[in-house]
Amino acid sequence: MSNALDPHAAIVTEAGGLDPGGPLRTADGQPLTRALARSSRRARRRAFLLVLPLLLFVLLTFLLPIGQMLQRSVKNDGFSANMPQLSAWFHEHPRGTEPDDAAWAALAADLTAAAEARSIGLVGTRVNYDMPGTRSLFTSAGRKARGGIEPPYREAILAMDEKWGDPKLWSVMREASSAYTSNFYLAALDRTRDDDGNITMAPEQQQIYVKLFQRTFWLSLIITFTTFLLGFPIAHLLATLPMRKSNLLMILVLLPFWTSLLVRTTAWMVLLQQQGVVNDILVWLGLIGNDQRLQMIFNQTGTIIAMTHILLPFMILPLYSVMRTINPSYVRAARSLGATSWTAFRRIYFPQTLPGLGAGALLVFILAVGYYITPALVGGSSGQLISNLIAMHMTQTLNWSMAAALAALLLGGVLLLYWVYDRLVGIDNLKLG
């Protein structure tokens, strides 16, 4: 503690207490370290208490729902809850056991009970997810079983429909007999299980999800690149103009940013239609004939054009804020040392814009990957992204577990990118206008 070379140390020690060798003390005699620790603890608690209400709110309205969705992606008790006896039989007998009399009796009892409880549709829907075309098998069996099924059960059920003897059906029912399953994730990756429970590729015509993930990835990459192509010159111009002029021009960037997404998407629909303004102008200019109007919307082109327009401000703003800080004398120095303007740009200016470029590109890519509204309205069938398929499963096919599994995979990708963004850029540096 006593440092002969540092006069302040001696003064503090003397002022701190009666015992020059002991710990430093506050005015009321407590050790200084403890008092400091207590006060910093109190400050930490105060700061945390300010954040706590919002943290709880977000936990309740955001994190819990996401958790519920993740649970839904691995859990579907449509079969196990409504077919308890058959589910129990599956648990007792390992895979590969031929269905015996007990199994058929359990099936008959469950079918009858489910038909009376009117839950047979749920059972059929669950099995239908893994084996398309089987829902009607269950509902018609439910209708016939309403009065009860007489033994011998095997013959009685097979008399309803020969398909009940299909080993594939029994394999699928075994899968469904446990409430928790990874089958929805397998399906989301275009995989399925064969009769022995091994993972195989889904039939060719059912392989849609991986292709859609790939398309989402490529379209987002293209959109990120086009926003870079269009955003870079604008950001450069805004950053090098005097503040007064650049503030005025900045309004042209911020106005689209503040305008409703639906308005911007509608505007593109109006502009790009076959009878729309852009085609009219092209015909009027004589570039195309009236009968060769371009199909620019309801396909990938429409998605790319509209999303580039919508996401452009997210590229311009981070680029602009980095370019503002670049000292122009570096480029001048390069020119004075004999560099051509292209070399000076390539070797001196461009490398300094990379932090802004990285931030903008990541942000645009993250937002593009999860876009839903614009592709749904202007994408047609070829411009749909993975989000649109999630929405379709949520609202049309009602295969919620499938939607949840697809959403979970997308979420994983987005969170990975978010983590990269936080590492490289820092969320604190996110700016809005």
Binding site: M243, L411, L430
Partner: protein
């Protein structure tokens, strides 16, 4: 952006080409928004300029689509004008009801997001805040996570808010939040919170903490310090954040599609229906009104930003 005097002729050509490219990109940014405005006055049900419109014939223009915003859904749109007609429009017109829903939901979700978000931003800006980075990441995530995922999760949660309690073995019964105003307000507040946090923390970075310390040393308690010193200084940032939160709610359609009931048909929801089913120039009339609305908002935010910079002593150079 002046051209240096030593520029070669080729560089001069390139410079003007560059300016032309920039002008074209600005045109790309603005033209789609501007073009809907004249088209919304189209007298014909088309989405393109008719010959009459191009020759500035007054007959080519009309207010019929704006009128249809009021009459669509009315019980008796052809009744003679007067108080009864307006009362009918106020009660039954679909777009008017959509506007009412949007404003109610936007107002309450903004209040919720702004109060909670500002408190949290105050905590997050303190140097002693523990786990700052991870908490910030969580609070910003509703902006990053694709809206379709959030809406899917909310759909499950709001249909059965008690389900998470069954994970810990309880089995309570509770009502639905889906299809209620409360549900949509909570959802929109969640989506607006990141914007409030970002805007208010950005304002607090420039906030001089010694002002608050000066107030405390002069005998003000923490509450007085907050309301008399901190609040007036960060108010522009708080209002900008609130405007962002309001716009987020006012423009949100996916969560509304998933969790709202027939009573909570907001303007974007009504537009969504209109675009998907039968797109008519009435949509363009709504779009025009929304563009005017966003111009007003942008002007307000810009004004607040300048005021905030002046208050904090940052002058534009």
């Amino acid at each position: 952006m002046a051209l240096p005097t030593y520029a070669s002729p080729l560089e001069k050509v390139w410079h003007y080409a560059y300016l032309a490219i920039c002008a074209a990109i600005f045109f790309f940014l603005i033209a789609p928004i501007v073009v809907v405005i004249p088209l919304s006055f189209n007298a014909e049900p088309y989405f393109t300029f008719t010959d009459k419109m191009l020759s500035f014939d007054p007959e080519g223009y009309s207010m019929r689509w704006y009128r249809s915003l009021l009459t669509f859904g009315m019980a008796n749109p052809d009744a003679p004008g007067g108080l009864g007609w307006w009362a009918d429009a106020w009660q039954n017109a679909k777009w008017v009801n959509a506007a009412k829903s949007s404003i109610i939901i936007g107002f309450f979700s903004t209040i919720l997001a702004t109060v909670l978000g500002t408190l949290a931003a105050l905590g997050l800006s303190r140097p002693e805040m523990p786990f700052r980075r991870i908490i910030m990441a969580v609070l910003i995530s509703p902006m990053i996570v694709p809206i379709i995922i959030t809406a899917t999760g909310m759909f499950f949660f709001y249909s059965n808010p008690c389900e998470p309690l069954t994970w810990i073995g309880l089995n309570p019964q509770c009502g639905k939040l889906a299809g209620t105003y409360l549900g949509v307000i909570l959802a929109h507040a969640t989506l607006g919170i990141p914007f409030v946090i970002i805007t208010v923390t950005a304002t607090l970075i420039g906030f001089d903490q010694s002002l608050a310390r000066a107030a405390a040393s002069l005998g003000a308690n923490p509450r007085t310090t907050f309301f008399r010193i901190t609040m007036p200084l960060i108010l522009p940032g708080v209002i900008s954040g609130a405007l962002f939160a309001f716009v987020t709610s006012f423009d949100e359609v996916v969560a509304v599609l998933f969790i709202a009931g027939p009573d909570q048909q907001t303007i974007p929801r009504q537009m969504w229906n209109g675009i998907r089913e039968q797109i008519s120039p009435a949509i363009l009339a709504v779009a025009t009104l929304l563009v005017i609305f966003s111009i007003a908002l942008l002007a307000t935010v810009e004004m607040l930003r300048r005021r905030s910079e002046r208050l904090r002593g940052i002058t534009p150079h």
